[in-house]
């Protein structure tokens, strides 16, 4: 058994936490971009596009993230596509995040009154101009709270990718525990780090919501 000092444990965890942060950021950004694209199709006039996107969303919302990660990580190599743990993690999280964000944002778009569509249409704006200049800016204000809320969820969900062997915070916690046999201390610290990442975001979401609320 290797001896670890407390400082070494903390250091090991914090180094691994960088991967958690990076993974969260990357999957949130790519998931957000894909989610926005899905949203635009989801509220479009084409019935075919709308149902395709609905199927995508229902598949990724209706199956466990863990299974999606398994399928990407273990399934794709069988088709001859080589995926690293990092690739599998970001891909899986992107699918998952985009499906959720698209659905959250659709609710926000639908909360914008119909009269806004009609008024902008009457001014000869096309669909994308309406979305870009009239509908999305209003939907965005409604979306801030739930979006940041989901972001917090997404950070915690990155813990799942430890299962496919990606060395983020939770995986590092397991490895250090295996070496030190001090699960309570190590996992406690892991939990604390997650909390330190999520709590400011939750506070930020609340502050933003108050601010937008006050500014109409």
């Amino acid at each position: 058994m290797i001896e670890f000092t407390f400082a070494q444990i903390v250091e090991g965890l914090l180094l691994a936490a960088r991967w958690t942060v990076l993974l969260s950021l990357v999957s949130f950004i790519t998931g957000g971009v894909v989610g926005l694209l899905l949203l635009v199709l989801r509220v479009s006039n084409s019935r075919l596009l709308r149902s395709l996107v609905r199927i995508y969303i229902e598949v990724f919302q209706g199956t466990p993230l863990l299974l999606q990660l398994f399928i990407v990580y273990f399934g794709l190599p069988l088709l001859g596509i080589d995926v690293s743990a990092w690739m599998a993690a970001t891909l899986g999280l992107t699918f998952f995040t985009s499906a959720y964000l698209a659905e959250i944002w659709r609710g926000c778009v639908e909360a914008v009154p119909k009269g806004q569509w009609e008024a902008s249409a009457s001014l000869a704006m096309n669909y994308f101009e309406q979305l870009r200049h009239v509908i999305l800016p209003q939907a965005a204000r409604i979306a801030i709270g739930p979006t940041v809320g989901f972001g917090v969820q997404a950070i915690k969900d990155t813990a799942l990718v430890s299962i496919i062997g990606f060395a983020e915070l939770t995986k590092a916690g397991t490895q250090i525990t295996n070496a030190t046999f001090r699960p309570f201390l190590v996992y406690g610290l892991v939990a604390l780090i997650y909390f330190a990442l999520c709590y400011p975001l939750t506070r930020y979401a609340r502050a933003l919501q108050r601010k937008w609320h006050a500014a109409r």
Binding site: P113, G115, Q116, E118, A119, S120, A121, S122, L123, A124, M125, N126, E129, H133, V134, P137, Q138, R141, R216
Partner: protein
């Protein structure tokens, strides 16, 4: 040639036959009021004129833009047709001037500088030159509706549609909006309005159209429609 001409326009919502063959002609510079009970199809007709409702049969021609059940270039049509709504529908995240500027810059690709100048001019025209930077929720209903009129006018439409634009207003605010409409009528703007303000319709209209059960039941100059109604339905309605 008439500015607006509809022939046999029909519209059905499911089993409900809302428009049963509407023939309507409006000359350039005319003010036409459409009156009738709720459910008579007058709002649907107005909304069909700028393509907010598609039509099932018939044709619409506005300033050279042709629309029928199969073909509609809505963008071209809507550049000719402005619309003001009962609920104003201003963009709440934009100031009064930004509301007036938006479609100019986005659709017509007018420069911001020019769009600003037009916005100033239009807001002054509706008596709101001082509310340039106000957000909609800082304005009264009457002021919001006047901004909505300025927003439509800024696109330089050939015809302006007004859909019960004073119906959502407190009584004391109706006058300021009707005042703006009246000044537009005097400036030879072509106006088609659905209204419940009978006295106003009588005073400013060149033509009044009485709709009943999805048809143009009676139409003519206001003195005739209000003074000598020839059908019992119209007589009952204006009583």
């Amino acid at each position: 040639m008439p500015l607006v001409k509809t022939e046999g326009v029909e519209k059905q919502f499911g089993a409900h036959h809302v428009l049963k063959g509407i023939d309507l002609t409006v000359e350039r510079g005319q003010v036409v009021s459409i009156i009738g009970r709720s459910g008579s199809g007058k709002s649907t007709l107005l909304r069909a004129l700028n393509g907010l409702e598609s039509i099932d049969a018939g044709s619409i021609e506005i300033d050279g833009e042709h629309v029928d059940a199969r073909h509609a270039d809505l963008r071209a049509l809507r550049l000719k047709v402005g619309m003001v709504f009962q609920q104003y529908n201003l963009f709440p995240h934009l100031t009064a001037s930004e509301n007036v500027m938006l479609a100019q810059t986005v659709v017509k690709k007018t420069s911001r500088k020019e769009a600003r100048a037009i916005a100033q001019q239009m807001l002054e025209r509706v008596g709101l030159g001082g509310k340039f930077d106000a957000y909609p929720d800082q304005l009264s209903g009457g002021q919001q509706q006047r901004v909505a009129i300025a927003r439509a006018l800024a696109m330089k439409p050939s015809v302006l549609l007004c859909d019960e634009i004073t119906s959502a207003l407190d009584p004391e605010l109706v006058g300021e909006v009707l005042g703006v409409v009246e000044s537009l009528a005097r400036e030879d703007m072509t106006l088609i309005m659905v209204t419940h303000e009978m006295r106003f319709a009588r005073a400013v209209s060149d033509n009044v159209v009485f709709m009943h059960e999805g048809r143009v039941w009676e139409s003519g100059p206001p003195e005739e429609i209000f003074g000598r109604p020839s059908t019992v339905e119209l007589r009952r309605f204006i009583q």
